[in-house]
Symmetry: C2
């Protein structure tokens, strides 16, 4: 059974805001299943809107299956049956650890083109002015549900080593290394952005929803950029995690990431 598409977000400005806010509070763990929400009138006062608006927000949450409303009794947070499987990736190793979901994660190629990259990307890759890249947009799904939207940009000379059809099946890394590129190090940064109409449609959520943004630039031994990845993840279906150990002598204790003994490389992000 294909689970219902999540977002039934209200249209209006305030209603939508309240909806997203409460949604984050529920999914984000500040409200536990079974907890009861304040009354609609109380919520209206808290958020500075009318009850009608609160109502609209709650309706959205209800059709999402996040809350349960009983006349006379009140509104409470439902058991999170809405978390069928979350994909957890290890930030330290870049390896997705599909916890309770060994359902095949598939990939779909959304776009494929060559052209001059936007300035910041060219700069990050260390490209000369006007140098061209191959650009591929891919969507990753787990159990048929999309969870990430990936845009990779590879300098054209390097990208010659593989074809469009290769991309649809093989992780980009494999392709690069097969091409003889010696991947040496990478630099990644995490941020948060809002879903644009394009990615919102691909990821099956509403425009303006929050997304995890991971930008990674991969370099070869010479320090030349060989890949620029811009990944967008649905927070409800994907988590970036890592474990740290507190190590070192008493006078120089510091944190050190734990590298999970990799059981062989699995897939790209």
């Amino acid at each position: 059974m294909t689970q219902m598409v999540a977002s039934q977000a209200p249209d209006g400005s305030k209603a939508r805001r309240v909806y997203l806010l409460l949604r984050d509070e529920i999914l984000g763990g500040h409200l536990a299943p079974g907890d009861s929400l304040p009354g609609e009138l109380k919520l209206a006062e808290l958020h500075g809107v009318s009850r009608v608006t609160i109502r609209r927000a709650l309706e959205g949450l209800e059709t999402d299956g996040l809350i349960e409303r009983r006349a006379g009794s009140g509104t409470s947070v439902r058991a999170p049956g809405a978390q069928p499987g979350q994909i957890i990736a290890d930030l330290a190793t870049l390896m997705p650890q599909l916890r309770w979901m060994e359902e095949a994660t598939t990939a779909r190629l959304l776009a494929f083109s060559y052209g001059v990259p936007p300035g910041p990307v060219a700069e990050a890759l260390g490209l000369a002015e006007g140098a061209r890249v191959q650009r591929a947009v891919r969507l990753r799904l787990a159990g048929g549900l999309p969870f990430s939207h990936l845009t990779t940009q590879v300098p054209e000379p390097i990208a010659q080593g593989y074809s469009e059809s290769d991309l649809a099946t093989t992780p980009l890394f494999r392709l690069l290394e097969r091409r003889g590129v010696v991947v040496d190090h990478a630099r990644q940064s995490v941020s948060a952005v809002l879903a644009t109409p394009e990615v919102a449609e691909a990821l099956e959520l509403s425009v303006g929803a929050p997304l995890i943004s991971l930008t990674r630039v991969v370099y070869d031994a010479a320090g030349n950029g060989v890949e620029h990845l811009s990944a967008l993840y649905r927070p409800d279906r994907f988590r970036l995690e890592m474990t740290l150990n507190r190590v070192g002598a008493a006078d120089a204790r510091h944190w050190e990431p734990v590298v999970v003994a990799g059981s062989g490389e699995k897939a790209g992000p």
Copy 2:
């Protein structure tokens, strides 16, 4: 001179959406300074709204100083003088590396209380039902500009070791270790959320803006949770970064995070 508060976000649903979308595209690096945007009519068509709405969005961007509009010529992305100083934290070591900003990062205590934590937090800390925690909400500022909103929750027995005034001045870690708590390891995960009215006000941005969410649970050697941190960062003023090296023999190459040689511990997150 305290820089003008960033967000001049439009009110309306669609206008606001377009505003935030374009804003992310500019700040996110997909549009380089000097690039020119599509015409207002074109944008209207692209986003499926009227020109008036596009106009409202662009007005917001203009007052933010992100774009430049010239009658007859068009609209273009302005040089990002709007990035005065970004704080970059290393995910692998938890150490903020204040790059070009050694301006003192100060902290402000927003709330301080004791109580029963929300279910998920209690679970993460491994607390018994009804066990109480100390809860502190702090705001961190760099050069007077707030960039992060931190909520820490510490089991009450542990939290007895320090006072409210301690918290305002000393990093929580120091306090814990002074108390004799042996911090052993931590588990953190990164996500993305929207700004609630409360944090939006504290961080001086508009409700619904995207925020980086970092949740960290710190454990002692026995595996008991000693601290639950929920941090929210402004993406425009804060970045989470890390560097990875590609190591290992050819048959087992994998990624390993680079631990920067810490020049002593500086501050909490």
